[in-house]
Each structure stands twice: as structure tokens, then as C-alpha cells.
Symmetry: C2
Subunit: 296 residues, 2 copies
């Protein structure tokens, strides 16, 4: 795993070797804002799955800096369910400095856990700005965790998050106004998903005291059942793989681009022209883009 985290050719060789063994595990994404209670929910869900004798892998993504390259929190010690249980494996990851929100590395770590036989993989990630849709391709079922904060109404929810959820968890459901908030979420979902085959379930939880987490477990099972009909799970995973191949290829080409001596030389020359006022930004980039030949 450490090798895969470092990236590079060795990492790719390991992942390619494991590739034929990937696909057994069911992947569940838990996403939402910082402080929404994602970690508590992951912890409780882990308990649920363990009580049914399923092995669990957890991949948790922390905010990191592309400058320092390190995760701020490091491996988490608060996963009480994981302590002393061989059936639970937890990994916190730092990003390799790419800018993709939900890191491809998280999917790679999930692949390893999958290849080594975990039944369930929980992917915990922060829903950030424009990047929520990344997780859509990384998990089979996505649970979006919301909390009824003072003054918040459903209109203020980030629309990106609304669009990726298969299940919506109203956590901290013991707060005043939580019931009304949950109702608002339900109404919004009814309108938004009217034309869809699957209408997202809304589950109310108080994850710190285990309330509702069994309901969440059932909602996940229902969505799993739904996906298993009519080849939906297969089709969804196929789209996920297509999206990953595209992303990995784009990244590989972009990396190769800026290491290519001819391109770097062209870049420096055109950049000097740009600085001296000899051309403008988009004209310069168009000329650079023309240095690339696509095709046979």
C-alpha cells in the first residue's frame, strides 16, 4: 500500500497485477461537509457489517496540502470499531498532489482492499465545491450526510452533493428543526428525482448514539438490491471504469507533456514572447497545443 501511495511505475505494476481480482467488494461512499459526522457514521456502519460477519475496509480522505504533500491528521485513532478486529482495516490517505477532489488514490487503495477479499469498502470523503461528482464513479452506493444547522434550509445545500446521492442521511436528527429539515430534503428529492428510476432514501440518524444507523444499513441494502436488477450494477461500474481510464490517461499524457524536452523548449520560447508582449495568453496556448500530434 505504501508503494501504491508513492505512485509511479511500481505502483501501476502492483495495481495492474491485482486488477483481475478486483470487483468482489461492495463500495459505499460516505460524503458530506466537515463536521457532518461522517466518521461516526462510518464507525457505526462498520459495526453493522461486522455483526453480519462481513469484512470491512475503510478508506478515509483528509484535506492535504499540495505543498507539504502530507495529511494533517494522519491515520485516525477514532475508529473504535476497528480496534483489535482483524475484520476491519482502516487507511487514511493523503493525496499525491493531484487536483481531483476525490483522489484516484482512494480508488486504488479500495482496489487493493477489494483484491484482498474485503466484503465491504467504506469510502469517507469530504464533499468539496465542484468535485462531488468524482465520488459518483468511485462507489456503488453514495450516502450524502447532511446536518440541520441553525438557519440552514434545503435551498442552501450544495447542488453538486444533491445530485450524487443515492441515500441522504440527516445526521444529528435530535437537533431542533431536524424533522422539518428532513421533510424539506424529502420534498426536494421528490421533485428533483421524479424522472429517475431510483428515488433516494432519506434516513435520519444520531450517529453518536447509534440511532438510525441500522436504517441506513437497510437503505444501503435496498439500493444494492436495486442495482443488482437489470444489470445496473455492472453498467454503473463499467461507466466508472471508463471514467477512471479517461482520467488516468489524461493525467499520464499531461505528465508526459511537461517532461517532454521539445514541449518544454517550445513552452519557454512562447512564454518569453508572451512576457515581452509579442503574443497573448490564448494565442500562446493555441500555438503550444499545436505542438501535439494526435493520430497515427
Amino acid at each position: 500500500m505504501t508503494t501504491v501511495e508513492r505512485g509511479g511505475e511500481e505502483a501501476e505494476a502492483i495495481l495492474d497485477a491485482l486488477f483481475p481480482k478486483v470487483g468482489h467488494a461492495y463500495r459505499i461512499g460516505i460524503t458530506g461537509s466537515t463536521g457532518a459526522g461522517k466518521s461516526s457514521i462510518v464507525n457505526q456502519l462498520t459495526g453493522c457489517f461486522r455483526s453480519m460477519d462481513q469484512s470491512v475496509g475503510v478508506v478515509a480522505e483528509d484535506p492535504t496540502s499540495p505543498f507539504s504533500g502530507g495529511a494533517l491528521l494522519g491515520d485516525r485513532v477514532r475508529m473504535e470499531r476497528a480496534v483489535g478486529d482483524d475484520g476491519v482495516f482502516v487507511r487514511s490517505i493523503a493525496s499525491r498532489g493531484n487536483e481531483t477532489g476525490f483522489s484516484p488514490l482512494a480508488s486504488e487503495i479500495a482496489d487493493i482492499l477489494d483484491a484482498f477479499g474485503r466484503d465491504v469498502i467504506l469510502l469517507e470523503t469530504i464533499g468539496v465545491g465542484q468535485l462531488e461528482h468524482r465520488i459518483r464513479f468511485a462507489a456503488d452506493t453514495i450516502a450524502v450526510v447532511l446536518t440541520p444547522e441553525a438557519g440552514d434550509d434545503v435551498q442552501s445545500l450544495k447542488s453538486g452533493l444533491m445530485e450524487v446521492g443515492d441515500i441522504f442521511v440527516v445526521n444529528k436528527a435530535d437537533r431542533p428543526d431536524a424533522g422539518r429539515f428532513a421533510e424539506d430534503v424529502r420534498s426536494m428529492i421528490e421533485i428533483r428525482f421524479r424522472q429517475h428510476d431510483w428515488t433516494p432514501t432519506v434516513v435520519e440518524t444520531v450517529a453518536t448514539i447509534e440511532n438510525g444507523v441500522r436504517d441506513l444499513h437497510e437503505a444501503i441494502a435496498s439500493h444494492h438490491d436495486y442495482l443488482q436488477q437489470d444489470g445496473r450494477l455492472e453498467a454503473q461500474r463499467r461507466e466508472g471504469l471508463r471514467s477512471r481510464l479517461r482520467a488516468v490517461t489524461s493525467q499520464k499524457i499531461n505528465g508526459a507533456l511537461w517532461e517532454n524536452p521539445y514541449i518544454v523548449g517550445r513552452f519557454d520560447a512562447i512564454f518569453e514572447e508572451l512576457i515581452s508582449g509579442g503574443c497573448s495568453l490564448y494565442a500562446a496556448s493555441a500555438r503550444l497545443a499545436q505542438s501535439i500530434k494526435m493520430g497515427e
Copy 2:
């Protein structure tokens, strides 16, 4: 501006035509978490600059969805300082669906405001996950807005944000523990920036009642003075332009890639192999990457 927001060739032609006129305005980035009070600070700062008879442009970035393509909040009406004052222009922007955190579009809108003679441009943006460093290249001075929340200590600050700040604003400085929090921020900065020429200033504000905003204005002026020595401002803007040219070129090439019939055909063929188990993910992407020729 609407044309530029739509993107495409027409937008690039406009931006290229304006390019020679860009560079007069001083750009100030205001970044930090949702709810830190960035908008209030932008509003108060606008008042400061207007009282010194400088024209102000504001570019505010909202969380958007790549699915809906629309900003959730739309243009803001809460910039009281802007109402009825021709010297202030405010624009909220939605992203074009790219995944770069601080949108290139924000810099493009800033370019337009700059070309049309604004003296000062305030760029308000949310500091998200791994993407804070984007703003480093978009503004001359970066102010990171922090708030002393209950239980937060400086260790929990996102390290990416710490590394881009020229000025740190401890907003809501009237809260209990704010003084201690500001001291902690000062100590951390002293350690972190010991080897640097510029040690970031820490300013305490209560933006809702104008406290400290004049101090912030002075801190910005000091940093501006610092940058004007030894060609620092020019060098920094040069690096910013280099980074923009690189980003725009990468985006252009990536876009062209997935519209190229030969590449799309190769992709489909290799993807079918991947699905049928004939090759693995990285091997597939390596073969695709080889379809691209760089060089003469």
C-alpha cells in the same frame, strides 16, 4: 463578460484583445472557509478603498455543480458598499465545469475589470481541500480569513491555507478565546516562515462592525510595498502568468484529446479490452498515451 463566461473561441478572442491592457490593477485574494466572514471583509475593504477614491472590482466565486452548470446563489445583493456606486463593480461567477478549485474564469473576469481600469480587484474564494494554491497565482496579496471556532486550535487549520497566506485575518475577534487563537496563529507563522523574506501579518477583525478592517487595509499596503521592492511583484506575476499558460495549455490539449476521432476510437477499442479482461487499467492508459506524438 457574459461571452467570456460562456467560454470558447469568442471568449478567448476577447481576452486576447484585452491582454495588452491587463496589469494595472492590484489583485487581492480573500480566501477561507464558508462562514468565516469573507463577504463582510470584502464589503468593508471595498469601503476602505472607495474612501481613498480607488475604483474596485469584486469577483466572488460560489460553489457550483458540474451537473447543473449553475451557481446556486447567483449575483449577490449583500454587497451594500456596491449599491449606487459606479466605482464598485461586483460579479459572482459560476464555474465552467472544470475542476480547478479557484476557477480560471475568476482570473479572466479579473482581467476584464483590470483592462477596463479598476484600481483594485478583490477575489473572494472558498479555500477548498487541496486547491488553495490555485489562488496563489491569481492575486498579488492573499489574505486568509480564519475564525476562532469553539474547540479549534491552530493545529487543525488546513495546511494548504497556511502556506498561501501573505496576511492572516482572525475574524470574529470578539469571540472568547479569539486572543489566544490569534497568538497561536502568530507563533505558528513565526516558526513556519522563519526562512522567508516576508513574515505574514496577523490582523484581528470583527468585520461586521468594521473593527480592524483599516488594519487589514494597512497590512495589504505593507505587503504591496514589500512586493514593489527588488522586482518581486513583477517576478511573482511572471510566475503567475507561466502557471496560467501551463494550465490553459493543459486544458486545451486535454479538450482536443477527447474530441479527436482517432483517440476516441482507440479509447473505445482499448476500453473494450479492459472490460473483457484483456488488459488492466494502467497498461490500457499507457497504450492510449502512446497514441500521442509530441515533437516536430
